[in-house]
């Protein structure tokens, strides 16, 4: 056997397990639910479920609401996480040590418990409103509102995103920054010309993670979200198990998948561009 053939077989063997896993738990279910979503009420096939998705007022409101929550959460999470990661990378001191040791704690707290904690803290008669009352202030409605979902998303996503970005920033050699300083680059210049370009790729990864995590979230939106409009995950559950319209639920899930894959497309494209640029 020639060497290339051997290497080819070897490569295939390495790929097959993950490929099988991917097709069994991702690819096949997506195809099945797509087919399911095409079935209309009368047993025929058509796009009626998708038409409903965009013509029904409640559903349209759900989609807009979900995108709003997702985009706002993404922007805030990334801004906070990036700032935190940069701060931890380039500063020293006891405060930084403390942050470094504690910022991951939310990852280890189960979602439901954290959500109930938030309800107790931010609810109408929660701790925060009681403290505010002492100073004569009132809390705007946070729980059972969009704000509550966004705050919960911050809690769930900031630690992991910070971790991701920290590791990217840790990969920037000190020597590069110091030599830039030596030739007289200011802080801002160093940030925009060196730090940002070198961590940009991980930044994209983080965007993808946060976006997908938030758009498909269920626990927090279910417990602290408003009755209407709902996040797509909550609506999906309701359509599936309460209204028992499997086809409609499949259509919502496939639409969510499309939204995610749109982002995935940009992510992969930028990765491929970089690879070809290198080669």
């Amino acid at each position: 056997m020639r060497k290339e053939v051997k290497m080819g077989i070897f490569g295939l063997c390495l790929v097959i397990p993950s490929f099988l896993l991917l097709s069994v738990i991702v690819v096949i279910p997506i195809i099945l639910s797509f087919i399911e979503s095409l079935r209309d009420e009368f047993g025929g096939y058509g796009l009626s479920r998708y038409v409903y998705l965009f013509t029904d007022e409640g559903m349209r409101a759900n989609i807009v609401f979900t995108l709003q929550v997702t985009i706002v959460s993404c922007v805030i999470v990334l801004a906070v996480s990036y700032a935190l990661a940069v701060y931890m990378r380039f500063s020293t001191g006891r405060l930084v040590d403390l942050i470094r040791k504690t910022y991951m704690i939310p990852i280890f707290i189960p979602g439901v418990i954290a959500t109930y904690g938030l309800i107790n803290l931010l609810g109408n008669h929660g701790w925060l409103s009681r403290w505010l009352l002492l100073f004569g202030g009132t809390l705007p409605r946070i729980i059972f509102d969009q704000k509550g979902i966004i705050i919960a998303n911050l809690w769930f996503n900031i630690p992991f995103t910070t971790m991701l970005l920290s590791s990217a920033l840790a990969g920037i050699p000190n020597a590069v920054i110091e030599s830039a300083k030596d030739i007289g680059a200011g802080r801002l210049r160093i940030f925009f010309r060196i730090v940002l370009p070198l961590s940009y790729k991980t930044f994209l990864v983080a965007v993808t993670f946060v976006f997908m995590g938030v758009i498909g979230s269920f626990t927090a939106p279910f417990l602290v979200g408003p009755n209407a409009p709902q996040m797509l995950g909550v609506s999906m559950e309701q359509v599936f198990s309460v209204f028992q319209e499997r086809e409609q639920a499949a259509a919502i899930s496939f639409f969510t998948f499309l939204l995610c894959s749109l982002l995935g497309y940009f992510y992969i494209r930028s990765m491929v561009k970089e690879e070809t640029a290198k080669a």
Binding site: I9, F10, C13, L14, I16, P17, L20, L21, V24, D56, E57, G58, A61, G123, N124, H125, R141, F144, F222, L223, P226, N227, A228, P229, Q238, S241, V242, F243, Q244
Partner: protein, 397 residues
């Protein structure tokens, strides 16, 4: 050395991929294996009932919240201690995950000519009793096989044509803070008036997430409709809901948070506990249990309205084709004994399945005023439609 390493990696990769493939295959194998096991267990049961030395094992499928599971976990050892010849295998299906599949399994087993699908006893609500009546799935019970059935209200038994044992029941009632509400409303119209006069002091939960909110919505929809409409699943009635939905929509701004409907039965109870509202529709057993544990303030009281909110028994059904009926009858007889019923009242705070007069005096007293007057809504598939309309006509406004 390098080659060795590479070979090893290659081998392990191969092994991994095969094991995944094998995993897929074995799922299919499992099915045939388990069906083989089914047929073999059928023959073993035959031999089991022939020789009384080995205990007969009955499979009991039930669904519900955690409190239902605790109840059976407590009752089963009591029963097995007295009846060493019967073992009860509990199969708990958490609510919301699969009551329908259990029914479908019994049905499928019947159609496939495989007996009762190894399910000897099944617990569920009225819809499944009537559905099984149509499909001819349930065994007809009598006092000769289950003597304690005599203690059950004969009218309740007639309602289900003796096909099921109503072993406990509960109802939706108004739970209110008696410090703030001195004279609770007695009719639905009075409830509406109370809500309008006390803005943001009433809450009902999202009807798709719990029976108490659902009952409030359904009772409102059927307020001015013919009395027997609540037992019909004829879609023709849907157009008559319009007035009820208009009322619910109009009430929205007067409710907690100007139209916030908490999730789950517990969601509104939490609001009552924290004092954010003064009145809610709630399940009687949940209120009693949480009063008992001190979770709800002791000032909480309950009131049924006339005509009543939804309520009713939970039933035990014996699949007609079960081969261990004798053992199941023994178990049913035990469940209906005052002793077991007292445990049920104590742990679940449900109304007893047998008539209150058979129960100790203190239990009789604790149910005064709430254990009667409820109605049994049975609108079948329509309740899905109600939830859907509520979501678009009330929540989304």
């Amino acid at each position: 050395m390098f080659r060795m390493k590479k070979r090893f990696t290659m081998l392990s990769a191969l092994a991994l991929s095969f094991s995944i493939l094998a995993g897929c295959g074995s799922a299919a194998n499992n099915n045939s294996a388990s069906s083989a096991a089914n047929t073999s267990s059928d023959s073993t049961t035959a031999s089991n009932s022939a020789s009384s030395s080995t205990p007969v094992e009955i499979q009991f499928y039930f669904t519900g919240s955690q409190n239902v599971k605790s109840l059976w976990d407590e009752l089963t050892p009591m029963f097995e201690e007295k009846n060493p010849d019967v073992k009860v295998k509990l199969v708990y299906i958490p609510s919301g995950t699969g009551a329908q599949p259990t029914y479908d399994r019994i049905m499928a087993a019947k159609q496939a000519g495989k007996g009762s699908g190894d399910i000897d006893l099944y617990e569920d609500g009225l819809p499944f009793v009537t559905q099984g009546q149509k499909d001819d799935l349930w065994d007809t019970l009598s006092t000769s096989s289950v003597p304690n059935l005599a203690k059950v209200d004969s009218k309740t038994m007639e309602d289900v044509a003796n096909l099921a044992v109503p072993y406990r029941s509960s109802a939706v009632v108004l739970a209110y803070n008696s410090e703030k509400v001195t004279t609770p409303p007695r009719t639905l119209d009075e409830v509406f008036d109370w809500i309008r006069q006390h803005p943001e002091r009433f809450a009902y939960n999202d009807p798709s997430t719990g029976g108490s909110g659902n009952s409030f919505v359904t009772t409102t929809l059927y307020k001015d409709l013919p009395e027997d409409a609540i037992h019909s699943d004829d879609p023709a009635i849907e157009k008559d809901w319009a007035k009820g939905f208009a009322t619910l929509k109009e009430l929205g701004p007067y409710l907690y948070g100007k139209g916030i409907y908490p999730k789950k039965n517990q969601g509104t109870l939490d609001l009552l506990t924290s004092g954010e509202v003064d009145m809610i529709p709630a399940w009687s057993d949940m209120v009693l249990e949480q009063l008992d544990k001190g979770q709800l303030p002791a000032t909480t009281k309950m009131q049924q309205i006339t005509p009543g909110f939804n309520g009713g028994p939970t039933y035990l059904m014996v699949p007609k084709l079960s081969e261990k009926k004798e053992a199941v009858y023994k178990f049913l007889d035990f469940v209906l004994s005052p002793e077991a019923q007292a445990v049920m009242v104590k742990t679940m705070h449900g109304f007893p399945g047998i008539e209150l007069t058979s129960m100790p005096q203190d239990i009789q007293d604790s149910f005064k005023g709430v254990s009667e007057g409820f109605r049994n809504f049975n609108v079948g598939e329509l309740s899905k439609e109600i939830n859907k309309r509520w979501q678009s006509d009330v929540a989304a406004q």
